[in-house]
């Protein structure tokens, strides 16, 4: 291993960054998978529920649920980018600074 890489690995902040960021990324990934496959399973096995009108109109529950799935993808990316470009990048900057 190169010397600078060795110094980074030995820096406790690096361990902190990797642990926090991985946990965050996997949590959000699982959230996305649960939402998406939840939607697909509803489509496969919950057709009647999705086809139930909301109130007295023709708009069904499937519509807001589908739109929610689309919005959730956007919101989850927003949540990740906010924390990664702020907190994590600051930690990363410190690590690289201390390694010099």
């Amino acid at each position: 291993m190169s010397q600078s890489a060795q110094r980074i690995v030995n820096n406790p902040k690096f361990q902190e960054l990797v642990a926090k960021r991985s946990a965050f990324a996997w949590t959000l990934s699982i959230a996305m998978l649960v939402i998406y496959f939840g939607f697909i399973l509803l489509v496969a096995f919950g057709k009647e529920f999705l086809g139930t009108p909301i109130g007295s109109g023709v708009t069904t529950w499937g519509m807001p649920i589908g739109v929610f799935t689309i919005l959730s993808a956007f919101i989850l990316t927003g949540i990740y980018v906010r924390r990664a470009n702020g907190e994590f990048d600051e930690l990363n900057r410190q690590i690289l600074e201390e390694t010099k």
Partner: protein
């Protein structure tokens, strides 16, 4: 309006036939205009607007050509694209004519079910962000093979990745070229062959002279045009119903032959295994498309790479919501009477008291969005949307061609054939020659496949990307014990199993080759081929006890540090 509709009136409705019988696999086919179409009368306003687009983008290519000097400029636009611009370009790569016309057509024909596909195409993006984007940016230079081969033997992994890239790009290109020829015949009244040659020549021009910088800006301009056009359409449709979705849905239910059934999931998703398989293929295929992965090297650092995905996800999601509204608007505007009590977009008016058939729309269901543009914006807007559809195809094929050329010049020529002993000028020259070759080959294939069913090809491209490129790329970044042998064997197993299962499945064996039943019942091989690829990588890595394998495992730590922190990563060019 009547006059223009009549121009398309003689079009064979073969395209519509697919609408009622769609199985999940044919989602990829959505936008491909299948079957025979007749040449239409020349559409002057559309041609003029398209010419303006071409002149403008050629101007950009000239500007880009003067700035494109080094290999970094050619492959990665000098690394100077911002996250917002790259987000638009990625969204542009993804918003093909197929997804615009195809998904609006699916919604028009089936209502709610169209949404299921939009969602499937979108949800891969968050995963790209969480798991791939920043590592890719930190480790790579020009192609995803840079990352996949980072600590491994260059020759085998680069060769495998180049095969995966070229296979993906070729199948995708053929589908786009054939779709382009048919669509342009339909919209512009140009000859099929003329249309295919125009697309081929222009894409060669953009890529050889302007490299990634021109390709990116063509894509950005087209994305803005398409998003603006679609926003205008959705706005006009909603305005007709006082901005009440409920009123729009009610009107659609009243005229659609399926009635209230368009408001709930239909028969699309009949087999859960096939559906989950499709979902996996769409998700992981997105993360394995070489022309999209390449875009992550056009930004300056990991921060901008993350922003790119955030903006791209927003634009793509917004676009799918628009196509959903446009699809429902199409139901009302095409299947319902207009202000004069006529049905201007149907081949024949339905009998009194009978609902119009979905398939009776002029030009087939994929034309639903185009007719809707006509109904809400008149002849001029119809011309605009037609020109945007043409521009869309052009921008997407340019990106694909650049990705294919890079796989040949950067991976095969520079790393495998010349073993790294090559100067930049030679490498770029090879890339430009390859671009011309790919352009000519795709013109020839486009003409050769004119009357073939190419619907399965985009599905095949996604399946290969998900079963070869993605597993090798992901494991190379995440799993320290992977070795060259494991990557090559696993990737090859994924590639072969995806191709064989599609060839023996319903989309090729039954629909293309005409056998009565398919040997393999599943249209989407993803759930099998992706798992096989990962299992292959695992098995052939852990059983690899060579000295080379030990060295590769030791080298993981260095790669890991760089992927996490960006230490030593490629920066942006100085200029």
């Amino acid at each position: 309006m009547r006059a223009v509709s009549n121009r398309i009136a003689s079009t064979v409705a073969a395209t519509a036939a697919a609408a009622g019988t769609l199985v999940p696999a044919s989602v990829y086919a959505a936008g491909a205009v299948d079957g025979a179409v007749q040449k239409q009368a020349t559409n002057v306003s559309a041609i003029v607007m398209f010419l303006v687009f071409v002149l403008f983008t050629l101007g950009i290519t000239y500007w880009a050509a003067r700035r494109t000097k080094s290999a970094k400029d050619f492959y990665a636009a000098g690394g100077g694209i911002t996250g917002f611009q790259n987000g638009l370009a990625i969204a542009g790569d993804y918003m093909s004519a197929a997804s615009f016309l195809g998904i609006a057509g699916l919604v028009y024909a089936n209502g709610f079910d169209g949404l299921i596909y939009s969602v499937g195409f979108l949800v891969g993006w968050p995963l790209v962000l969480f798991l791939i984007a920043e590592r890719l940016r930190n480790l790579g230079k020009y192609t995803f093979a840079d990352v996949a081969s980072y600590r491994f033997k260059q020759t085998p992994i680069r060769t495998l990745s180049a095969c995966g890239s070229l296979a993906t790009v070729t199948f995708y290109l053929i589908a786009q070229m054939v779709g382009a020829g048919k669509l342009i015949q339909l919209l512009f009244g140009l000859d099929y062959m003329v249309a295919v040659i125009i697309v081929g020549v222009l894409m060669i021009g953009y890529v050889t002279f302007g490299g990634m910088l021109a390709t990116t800006w063509v894509q950005i301009i087209k994305a803005v045009l398409l998003l603006s056009g679609a926003s205008f359409m959705a706005f006009m449709i909603l305005a007709k119903f006082g901005f009440s979705p409920e009123a729009m849905f009610k009107a659609a239910v009243d005229v659609h032959p399926k009635g209230v059934a368009i408001m709930s999931p239909g028969a699309f998703v009949s087999d859960p295994v096939d559906t989950i398989s499709l979902g996996l293929t769409l998700m992981f295929g997105t993360a394995g498309l070489p022309h999209i992965l390449m875009r992550f090297f056009t930004v300056s650092d990991a921060k901008e790479a993350r922003k790119s995905v955030f903006y791209a996800t927003g634009f793509i999601g917004y676009f799918y919501i628009l196509t959903f509204i446009i699809g429902f608007g199409a139901i009302v505007l095409i299947l319902g009477k207009d202000a004069n009590g006529a049905y201007p977009f149907l081949t024949a008016a339905p009998a009194e008291g009978v609902k119009a058939a979905v398939a009776s729309v002029i030009g087939g269901t994929n034309m639903a969005a185009i007719h809707t543009a006509h109904a809400v914006g008149g002849d001029l807007f119809f011309g605009f949307i037609s020109a945007v559809a043409f521009a869309t195809i052009l921008a997407v094929v340019a990106g694909l061609t650049l990705a294919g050329a890079s796989a040949v010049s950067h991976d095969l020529y520079a790393s495998v054939f010349a073993r790294g002993r090559v100067n930049e000028a030679d490498e770029i020259r090879v890339s430009k020659i390859t671009t011309v070759v790919i352009g000519i080959v795709s013109i020839v294939l486009g003409i050769a496949f004119e009357n073939q069913n190419v619907a399965f090809m985009v599905g095949l491209a996604f399946a290969i990307a998900a079963s070869t490129n993605f597993p090798v790329l992901l494991m190379s970044m995440f799993w320290g014990r992977m070795t060259t042998r494991g990557a090559v064997m696993g990737g090859a197993i994924g590639l072969i199993s995806a191709c064989v299962m599609i060839a023996l499945g319903p989309t090729v064996w039954k629909a293309v080759l005409g056998h009565p039943t398919a040997i393999i019942g599943y249209a989407n091989p993803g759930v099998f081929s992706i798992v096989l690829a990962f299992a292959g990588i695992w098995f052939f890595s852990i059983t690899d006890n060579s000295a080379q394998a030990e060295k590769e495992r030791r080298d993981f730590e260095d790669q890991y540090v760089r992927s996490q922190t960006g230490l030593g990563a490629e920066g942006a060019s100085a200029h």
